[in-house]
Symmetry: C2
Subunit: 513 residues, 2 copies
Amino acid sequence: MTATAAHDSGTAAMAALIGRVREVKLLESTASVLGWDQETMMPEGGVEWRSAQLAHLARLSHQTFTSTQTGDLIAAAMDAVAGLPEDHPDRVDVREIDRDWRKATRLPEALVSELAELSSKAMHEWAAARQANDFPRFQPWLERTVELNRQKAECLGWPAGGEPWDALADSYEPGLAAVEMQAVFEPLRKRLQGLLDRLRGAPRRPSNGFNEHALALADQERFVKFVARRIGFDFSRGRLDRSTHPFCGGSHCNDVRMTTRYLETCVLDALGSTMHEAGHGMYEQGLSAERIGLPMGEAAGLSVHESQSRLWENQVGRSRAFWTWAQGQLPAFFGEACDRFSLQDLVDGANVVEPGFIRVEADEGTYNMHVMIRFELERAMIKGDLKVADLPGVWNGLYKDFLGLTVPDDRRGCLQDVHWSMGAIGYFPTYTLGTLLAAQLFEKARTDLPGLEEGFTRGDFSPLLGWLRKNVHAEGRRHRLDGLCRKVTGKPLSADPLMRHLEGKLLPLYGLA
Amino acid sequence: MTATAAHDSGTAAMAALIGRVREVKLLESTASVLGWDQETMMPEGGVEWRSAQLAHLARLSHQTFTSTQTGDLIAAAMDAVAGLPEDHPDRVDVREIDRDWRKATRLPEALVSELAELSSKAMHEWAAARQANDFPRFQPWLERTVELNRQKAECLGWPAGGEPWDALADSYEPGLAAVEMQAVFEPLRKRLQGLLDRLRGAPRRPSNGFNEHALALADQERFVKFVARRIGFDFSRGRLDRSTHPFCGGSHCNDVRMTTRYLETCVLDALGSTMHEAGHGMYEQGLSAERIGLPMGEAAGLSVHESQSRLWENQVGRSRAFWTWAQGQLPAFFGEACDRFSLQDLVDGANVVEPGFIRVEADEGTYNMHVMIRFELERAMIKGDLKVADLPGVWNGLYKDFLGLTVPDDRRGCLQDVHWSMGAIGYFPTYTLGTLLAAQLFEKARTDLPGLEEGFTRGDFSPLLGWLRKNVHAEGRRHRLDGLCRKVTGKPLSADPLMRHLEGKLLPLYGLA
């Protein structure tokens, strides 16, 4: 074979693999639009058939992807890219497709399809059970979800010394193990507890007034859309709707669908959740349109995803610099209704630390405690150490232990999150890993971009987005979490930047520095 | 084989066929939700990928349906139902599935997928071209659409003595032929022209005041949703949204998505289009949930579909009885804004006859003229007698000829309808066939249900819906248009009931009787 012929056949092998993977992505992204539709638009009567549609799409994409033909295409493409540098986009694509394929081929089609069907129905049942504060209604659905996820873990397998939870977590954060997570959580809990103890006895208490101030929902909606656009979410390639549980989904980088929800008494709730989802959304929009469906056009994992949402929600959205700008925007949306709040009131409102029952409403100081509780519980359920029937009691015990709270009902307890109903077990810890990475990335961005926060005070967020586009979004799945963190910040992932961020902001606010 | 074993294998053969057809319906209904989403929700950036999704779904459902396996399942099921009466639901299902399969197998997969992709893109281009009043922008898309539809017609074939248009129309109205349609249109045009001539010289002119009265769009939206619910559209199994071109789509009988649009100056436009789409929607909701995807759970054809929409829009929505009730509802939605209009003003507004450029805004007297014009044009384009480039000129000539109007621009001319951009050629005449059937069905319902219109004056529409459920919706695809008409009304489809309806209402309104 001449060199040119080899190149051509290499190109042909890549093209054939890309064509196959693109077909899978067409189906997966279709399912994703249907999932968004189910949560935002679908009339109630549609649940049964929707579950069947999703099950069928899951079956078809699994069939297409796991076929031996796909395996042959991967093998041929692997030969074709063998001469390229390890971090060449084509080589990364083949490496990650191969990883995905090996995982997927371990799962029987029937299990994949049953999980898709179950999750569509269970989400519906969860929403009804949560509204009715009726855990027993949800219990059989969660039992089945745990059962199928245990089967899934058995099929996938886990490294020696690990446990079933690891097999599931790997889908959200490649290579993540429960013992490793525990090693992050234990010291973090102590450091956070230390901070919370100091704040409890502090001489100053930030004003909560702005969080108790009712504002019309339609005005809130216009305001948070304005902020989302201003920080960089592109509405010609995305939407913002309402749903019970805020999320970011959609089809691909040019069609990103995020949702939020509105509480009359707290625009900061809608704003925080919108900036959070916009962080996810801008990551998605920053992925390569040329590589839709290919690993180099996909997010690096859920922790990195969460770093983007937490960064915009916390490092930006709770900063004095952001509010210096945002305060001036309020009259255009709320008239005189916010005039009586000073800049300090707004910064205070965004940063009050107060243990609460609801994770998605939690402040930065207590947020990770909520995650730790869920990690313990899901790990035990999957291991078989905790029966689903016992979940409410154990949940409530942990809230007492971690946050000193007595959970009043399951609606504000173990029924609050959508994740387990979606079949997502092993997902929660990525929230904390993402929170750590967000702080670490933001420290580096501040070093790289002098005047960054001064720009925020003028409503200029584009340098930050540009920096994230280049350092994170454009990298696709080239690196794992720790590799990306080292490449961008020069250091392994650590809790130090988060603690510096929290202490640097909260101690002065509480009159402790 | 014993009788029981034969019965079991018959049941098994039916079950196997149903399973296959259900898979196809899962994919088709998914595509339908994506189509709805594209028109109502999808951000602009999503077009390219959405077209690819729809093309892939079309390819997959075509593959699944046209496989030889499906043919074998049909053959086995045919044996299984051979002993049943001809109009038994199972036998009807197999007969119609066989008909669909024979048609579908004549179409190459590549053509099916290209048509789906083209239509998604062309609809997007059409919307942009219409907004910009820019026919040349749309021209290449329409040329390709005509070209692919000619190929489609060649693949499908048509009966001796027919023409290519017949092959396409058969998908919307089984067995419809252009010559037959012409035989309906020619005398109808004369009769309608005679009526229009009489109205033009009439001593009284109905007041147009209510059609020129601005009302807030949000109030209009609440009002038309209220009316849709009251006439029987079930919002727990459907939605009403906004789109440029009103339509009714969705997934299946328990998830029906209709759209409308709002003009500030004319609530009757939104009301008429909502009642029209609700007529379609209630037909869909009236189909059997047990037979989703099977012919006995599907609409009989587009003419029957259109009879349902036209009946609610015209026989109900433009009647004095309806307005006697509706007038009393106006204050709850519009405050005092409509107080100055008498019942006669409202009835007048709903029934003014005035030739106009826009089909979907047309009154009952001129509506069918718009349909005739489109029929002539699409027939000629498919035959090859009319070049797409010449469409605007010929369109405008026909508007002069049929309605005496000089079309001012293509936006109000040949760019006004979505159908051709969707690839739907052969569709328009079903509007007129449905209009004829609507009048004929309503005459019969009035005979069968004494006090029907007296009920309308109290807002009671359920007897009519019940009658349609039983006589039309529950029949699925058991009968063709003419068969259904004969079965329900005892007579072949005729223009007489429509002319009686129009003359009976319009002549008195114009002071001519």
